[in-house]
Symmetry: D2
Subunit: 291 residues, 4 copies
C-alpha cells in the first residue's frame, strides 16, 4: 500500500469509498470540483490535488467516481484534465456508472496516450460503499485490474474482471433487465393476490420463505403496499436500462418477450407521470394507474 | 400430543412428514393404498388402519397427503372412505396439492356430514418435508387449524391460515406465477449475457451478490448453463399454473402483461416438446429451440 | 322452395333473415317467445307455430336464431321444445352464436332422436341480414347443409361447410382473435401518429390507400379519433373471444404472443370500466386510460 | 408543364416513374450513375444531364429516386452533386426511402444554400409506379410541394403533405408498424386454424369476406400456406421499422405492448435465420421454427 492512489470525485459514493480506503491504510490524493469537499478527507489523512491533471501526475493510478457521463468526460477531456498527464505506466479507473459509448471514448483517449484504462462500475449504494460491500464490475486492462485489486478488495465484497471495455456496462444492463422484469412479476402478483381476496402482506411473508425469496421483494414489498414509491432507483432510469438491454439483444437477434412486455409497462408508468418515482411504481400500471 | 392423529397417504412426501411427526412424539394411525408401505412407519411407532374410514373412526382428526386430485377424491368418496365415518367433532385436513374445485368438492362433502375441513397444501419437496421445513398454506375451518397447529409446527417452518377454502390453492398460484415470470426473466438474461460476449457463469456470480439474489437462481442456474433440465417441477405443470393464475386475473379484470408473455413462452416450450422437462427448460425458447 | 321451413326467434337478426327468405319466395312457419312479434312476418306471408315443437312437427327442417346460449338451449330442451318432435328425417339448424359446448349439447340431443343437426353461426349484423349479405359458417350434417343451401344462398353472400360440429364456433374465434389483435395494432398506430406530431386523420387516409386497407379501419377510425366508442361489438365480448381463442391455442400448444398481449390490453380496458363500450375502446389503454 | 424537371436515379422505381411522367407530357432531364440506363428514357423524349449538378443547373426543380441512404447522400454531397448548383429559387425533392436523419442532413444542406427541399417517400412498388398509382408522403417546403403537385398527380394516385421534414419517414414507420403487428396476428390465426382442425385455406376465404379483409392477407396468405416466403419486403427491414417505431413511441412515453410482442417475434425469426426472407416468414415462429 506504499504508493499513492488518486481519487477524483467526492460525492456521496466517492466520499464513502475514499474514506473507506483511507481507513484501511491507503494513501490518497483526492480532488473534487468543489474543493472544500476535500476537507473531511484531509482529516482522514488524504492529500489534495489542485486539478485532475495534478492528481494523475502524482499517482501511479487514479480512480474516478463521477456523477454522470458528462462529469466523467469532463474530468478527462477538459483543461487540466486526466489526459494532460496520463502516460505510459499510469492508469485511470473510471468507477462511475456510464454508458458503453462514454466508456469507450474515455478508454480510447487514455490508451492513445499510452495509459492503462479500466471501467469499473459498481453495484450498491451509500451504505455498502461505506462498509466496503460494493460489487465491482471491472473491464479493460487486466494488468491495471490486478494492480488495483488491493483497493477493490477494500471497497467491495467482490470484484469481477469481465474482459474488454464495455463489458462492465453490459453486465449491469443484464442484471438490471432481470431486475426490471422481476419487479413487474412481483407487482402483478401483489395485485392478483389483493384482488383475489388474499392478504398481500401474507403473500410477502410466503414469498420470503419460498425458493424465490430475495432482498428486493423483502425491501420494496412493504412500501409498495402503502403506494409509497420514494425513489431509490428512478423508474425512468430503469426503463432506459430495459431499452438498452433490449437493444443489445436486438443486435444479437435475441428475442426477449418478457423483458419487452416489462419495458412497455415501464413506458406506461412514464406515460402516467411516474418516471421520477422509484421503479417499483410500475406497480401502479397493474392497479389501474390511479394514485 | 395425547390424542391419535390419522394420516392417509405415504408417498415420498407423506412418509417423510409422518416419520417426522412420530419422531416428535405424535401418535399416528396411518393408512396407505399399498398397505406394505406402512411397515416402516410401524417401526417408528405408528399404528395401522385398514381403511381410510377406519382411521377416521379412531382419530380426532386425520391428515391426507395424496398424489393428485383423483387420489384425493378417492380416499374421501370411495367405499371405506373418509366420508363413511366423518362426523360432528371430527376433522379432515387435505395437505395434497389439488385445484380449488377438488378442494371445494371435498370441503362440501365433509362439512355436510358435520365434520371440519381444512385444505393445507405445502410448499417444499422431500428434503424440507423430512426436516420439518415445509411452508403450509392452510384455509378453511379456523378451529381445526388451531387444533392442528402443534403438528403443523413440527412439519413446517411456518404455517399460514389464509381464510376460506380455496385460498390455499390461490396463494400457491400467485407464488408460482411470480416464479414462472422470474424464470423467464432469468433465462432471457442468461442468453443475453452469453450472446453479448459475457460469461454466463459470471452473471450467476454477480446475481448471487445482487439485491435480486434468490435460491432458485442459485440452484437452477448451473444446470441450465449445461442445458440440463432434469424435472423437479415439470414445465407443463408450471404452464398450467400460469394459465390458471391468468384466468384468476381475468375474473378480476387484472391485466398482467408480463405473466402473459411468460405463459406464451412456456407454451412455446411445450410446442418444442419440452413439457415433461423441468420448467427451467423455457430457457430453450430464448436460445432458438434446438436442444 | 316448395317445402315449409321452420324459423324460431324473431329478434333483430332473426326477423331480418326471415323477411328476406319470405321475399325470395320461401314458405315459413315462424315462432317467437313473444308471439306478437310474428305479426309482421305474417304480413309478409308467414304462418305461425304455437310452440317450437309445433313448428318442428310441421316442417322438414327448422332454423333457430336465438339471442344467446341460454335461449338456444331453452327452445330445444324446454317443454314444447324442438326435441319433442324432432325425429328421423327432420333437421334443426342453429344459426345463433353460441359456444362449442352449447352447440355440442344441442347436437347430441338432436341426433340421439335421429334428427339432423347443423350449427351455422353468421358473420354480419342487421344490415347484411336484411340484404342477404351474411357470411354463414356451417358445420355438422353435410346432407342437411345441402338441403338448406337454397335458403343459405338467400340469407348470405357466401356460406361455408366446415366439417364437424364445433368448427363453426372455432372459425368465428379465429377470425375474432385476428380482429382483436388488429384493433390493438390500429389503436397503437393512431396514438403513435398523434403523439409524434402527425395528423391521425391523415394516417387514416394513408392507411385506406395501403395494402392493409380494410373496412374495419375505415369504419372505426373516425369515431375513435372522437373518443366515440358506441358499442357495436362490446369490448367484454371481444375479450372473451380472445380468451377462448388463446385457450384453444393452449390445448394445441400454440404460442401466440401477439394475441396474448392484445388480450391483456382488453383486460386493462375492462379494468378501466370500458367493458360495455365498443371493442375499439381498447384505444383508451394506449392513451393513458383517462376518458 | 412547360418547365423542365430534373430526375436523378433510374433504377426499377425511378425508371418507371420517369417514363410515366414523359408519357404524360412532362419534359425531363435525367441522370443515372450508369449513364447508359438513360437511353430508354431518351427514346421517350428525355434529355440527359452529365452530372447531378448539371441537371440541377438546368431545371427549376429536380427529383431524386435513389436506392438507399448512401446513394441519396452521394448524389447531393459528392463532387458534381446537387449541392453545387442548388440555389435560391431551385428545389430538390428526395423521393427515396431514407431514415429521418439522412433526410434532415440533406434538407439542411439544401436550405443552407437557399434551395427548397421536400422529402417525398412513396408507398408502392414497380407496378404502381408504372401505373401512376403510388402513394406519396411529402414533407418539407409547402411551396415546392405545390409546384410539384402536377407531377405528383401523375406519379401517384394520391399525395399527402405532412408538414415539416421527417414526417414523411415517420408516417411510413407508423404504417409499417401496424402492418407488422397485423402480419403476426394473421400468422397466429393461420396456425391456430390449422392446428385446431380447420382448413386454413377456408380461413383465408372467410377473412376475405370479413370486415378485416385487406389486400395483404389476400396476397400473402396463399404463399404462406405453402411456406413460401419469397422476399418482397425483407423481414429484417420490417423488424428494423418495428424497432424504430417503438423507439419513436419511447421518446413520447407511449406504451405499445402489441407492437412490442410483434417486434420480439420478428427478432425470433431473425434468430432462426429468416431475416432475408419476406416479412411474412414470421409465420414460422408460430409454427415452431422448423422450415
Amino acid at each position: 500500500m506504499g504508493e499513492e492512489i488518486g481519487f477524483l470525485g467526492l460525492g456521496i459514493m466517492g466520499k464513502a469509498m475514499a474514506v473507506n480506503l483511507l481507513r484501511h491504510g491507503f494513501k490518497l490524493t483526492v480532488w473534487n470540483r468543489t474543493l472544500s469537499k476535500c476537507d473531511e478527507l484531509v482529516e482522514h489523512g488524504a492529500s489534495v490535488g489542485e486539478t485532475p491533471a495534478a492528481v494523475v501526475k502524482k499517482c501511479k493510478y487514479t480512480i474516478g467516481m463521477l456523477s454522470d457521463p458528462a462529469a466523467a468526460l469532463s474530468v478527462v477531456f477538459d483543461k487540466d484534465g486526466v489526459l494532460e498527464h496520463i502516460c505510459t505506466g499510469k492508469g485511470y479507473i473510471d468507477m462511475s456508472t456510464v454508458d458503453a459509448d462514454t466508456s469507450s471514448k474515455i478508454s480510447e483517449a487514455i490508451t492513445s496516450k499510452g495509459g492503462h484504462f479500466l471501467e469499473a462500475p459498481v453495484s450498491g449504494s451509500k451504505k455498502p460503499a461505506e462498509d466496503g460491500q460494493l460489487v465491482i464490475l471491472a473491464a479493460g486492462e487486466k494488468a491495471l485490474y490486478e494492480q488495483a485489486l488491493p483497493a477493490f478488495n477494500v471497497m467491495g465484497k467482490k470484484s469481477f474482471f469481465l474482459g474488454h471495455v464495455g463489458n462492465g456496462a453490459r453486465m449491469k444492463l443484464v442484471v438490471n433487465m432481470i431486475m426490471g422484469s422481476m419487479m413487474n412479476a412481483f407487482s402483478e402478483g401483489l395485485e392478483l393476490a389483493d384482488r383475489s381476496g388474499l392478504n398481500p402482506q401474507t403473500l410477502l411473508d410466503v414469498l420470503d420463505l419460498a425458493a424465490i425469496a430475495n432482498p428486493m421483494f423483502k425491501m420494496k414489498g412493504p412500501p409498495m403496499l402503502q403506494n409509497n414509491y420514494t425513489p431509490a432507483f428512478p423508474l425512468k432510469h430503469q426503463q432506459k436500462d430495459m431499452r438498452l438491454a433490449l437493444a443489445l439483444g436486438d443486435e444479437n437477434a435475441i428475442s426477449m418477450p418478457v423483458a419487452a412486455a416489462a419495458n412497455e409497462a415501464f413506458k406506461k408508468a412514464r406515460n402516467l407521470g411516474l418516471g421520477d418515482l422509484d421503479f417499483s411504481a410500475v406497480h401502479q400500471t397493474v392497479k389501474g394507474g390511479e394514485l
